[in-house]
Amino acid sequence: MPRPVPGQFVMVESAGGGLPFWRRAFSVAGFGAGEESCWLDLMIREVGPGTAFWRGVPEGTGTRVLGPLGNGFPLEEPPRSVALVAGGIGLPPLLYAARELAGAGTRCDLFVGAATAEELIDPEGCARVAADTGGVLVPCTDDGTAGEAGLVTGAVERRLRDGAAWSELWACGPNPMLRAVAELGRAYGLPALLAMEERMACGLGVCLGCVVPTPDGGHLRVCTEGPVLRGDAVDWEAL
């Protein structure tokens, strides 16, 4: 497998090819390669049969993994500084991006949103990854049980209003959150790059099931033209 770019994903077979019928898409959260093998880090939130499958599977269970797929974040020309905005299980591609950017001189401030303190994923690890880039971790919870109370995009907006000078906003999470980041990007004149998620049958561009509407009345395939799309490339009203 070639080295995945952060934001790229893999399609993973569960239950040995039986049910569920489709493979499942997971963002690459980390990657390493040895002489003859490589490993992939995935972080999976259990929401249904295809994700539940991985709870308690015996070590050494084989499966088929297709990837890396999609475009990923533009790491060849890294921004000077970036706000990484993660909602829930949107964290993996941004964590991987921050790790990959650590050597590139890009400051990454990592905003992580969750419903409750309990649902925050590995805050110590996230803080370390952000610190390695010279940035900070800003945890946010809906119920205020940890970090700042309220929406993660609210925390980003407060800092923008106070003059935070990021050169780009990168985000991954539920669509309403991505839309809010796209609007922040427009309001503050910053490119917003959003790793999107849609139901996928193939992940390869041939089923046309994963499209999102564009302002010109067309579509983009999340699996091939994305998953990383510019905020202004999506028609949020029509989505």
Binding site: F21, A201, L204, C207, G209, A238
Partner: protein, 306 residues
């Protein structure tokens, strides 16, 4: 590979092997070239083409089901002009066998696509998708009305000397009647089946899973239905070449369709789960022939013992 002869023919069209990519599941033949080169297949059937580009249906367009899936893509496509300019040259250079899948809302739409394609080399035939509503006759699907279907096939027949296939809908009330109508209209072969109309419901949201409410069911769930229909049409019209499809996942599935009377098959949804599925299937077919002493794949066609 062993010495098995994998070639077959659908009417006058000779194919290097019996496995074609089904319409709407393999893009325009070039999306997966590294994983599954189109020239290694018996042929590729393009995504359905209309005279002008179409944006297709709103989201969500797909839903997973037990052993299959529903789709309501709404026939999104780049239009015949872009296909001829941007896709066909590479398909031609690769030596792929190209069947253009055609659809429309009026007979004129079908004719416009075929007439544009007639100007191009490297198109080996047409497959009419007749599971579309005919706007001028109140939205009745062409494939549901033998009279409409025969007239549509006849006008397409007059526009081309290339192989002309009609893809039958499993939702038509009278399968044998529509099959006969297509043949009487001048079809060289029949492809069957298209997807089966269905729906899925999200119990928590209490809403349909698809924006269009209904979608077409595909995948292994429909294989027994497809097989029965191929067998029935073959029995009713034994001289008519058939292309079988619906739920094929393995080389043995191909053998099943050939035995039921198909001269070739198409593979659709299997490619979504395994992009190399068609190549794996060809290997399995070769292996089956080898093990059973079948020297020529065409000897399997219609060889069901009943």
């Amino acid at each position: 590979m062993s010495g098995v002869d994998l070639t077959t023919a659908v009417g006058a069209l000779e194919l290097s092997n019996p496995v074609l990519a089904a319409s709407g599941t393999f893009g325009y033949g070039l999306d997966l070239v590294d994983l599954c080169p189109p020239e290694s297949l018996g042929g590729v059937v393009t995504k359905g083409l209309s005279p002008r580009p179409r944006a297709g249906a709103p989201m969500p367009r797909i839903a997973e089901t037990a052993s299959g899936m529903l789709n309501a893509i709404g026939l999104e496509n780049i239009g015949v002009e872009a296909f001829c300019r941007e896709k066909l040259p590479e398909l031609r250079a690769r030596g792929a066998v190209v069947i253009v899948n055609v659809f429309g809302e009026s007979p004129g739409d079908y004719l416009r696509v075929i007439e544009r394609c007639e100007a191009e080399e490297g198109i080996h035939g047409y497959e009419l998708n007749v599971s579309c509503p005919n706007v001028s006759s109140g939205g009745m699907e062409f494939g549901h009305d033998p009279i409409l279907l025969q007239a549509l096939t006849r006008s397409c027949r007059e526009a081309t000397a290339r192989p002309l296939w009609v893809k039958l809908s499993p939702n038509a009330p009278d399968l044998a009647g529509t099959a006969r109508a297509a043949v009487d209209g001048g079809a060289d072969a029949l492809a069957l089946i298209n997807t089966i109309r269905g729906m899925a419901i999200d119990p928590w949201a209490r809403r349909p899973m698809l924006a269009r409410t209904f979608g077409g069911l595909s995948g292994p769930a429909i294989l027994p239905v497809a097989l029965r229909m191929v067998f029935e049409v073959h029995r009713a019209l034994p001289e008519v070449p058939l292309v079988g499809l619906g739920g094929i996942e393995t080389g043995l599935d191909v053998v099943r369709f050939l035995l039921a009377g198909a001269s070739a098959v198409q593979v659709g949804t299997a490619t979504f789960r395994r992009p190399r599925a068609m190549l794996e299937i060809l290997g399995e077919l070769d292996d089956y022939c080898d093990r059973t002493g079948t020297e020529r794949v065409r000897d399997l066609v219609g060889a069901l013992e009943v």
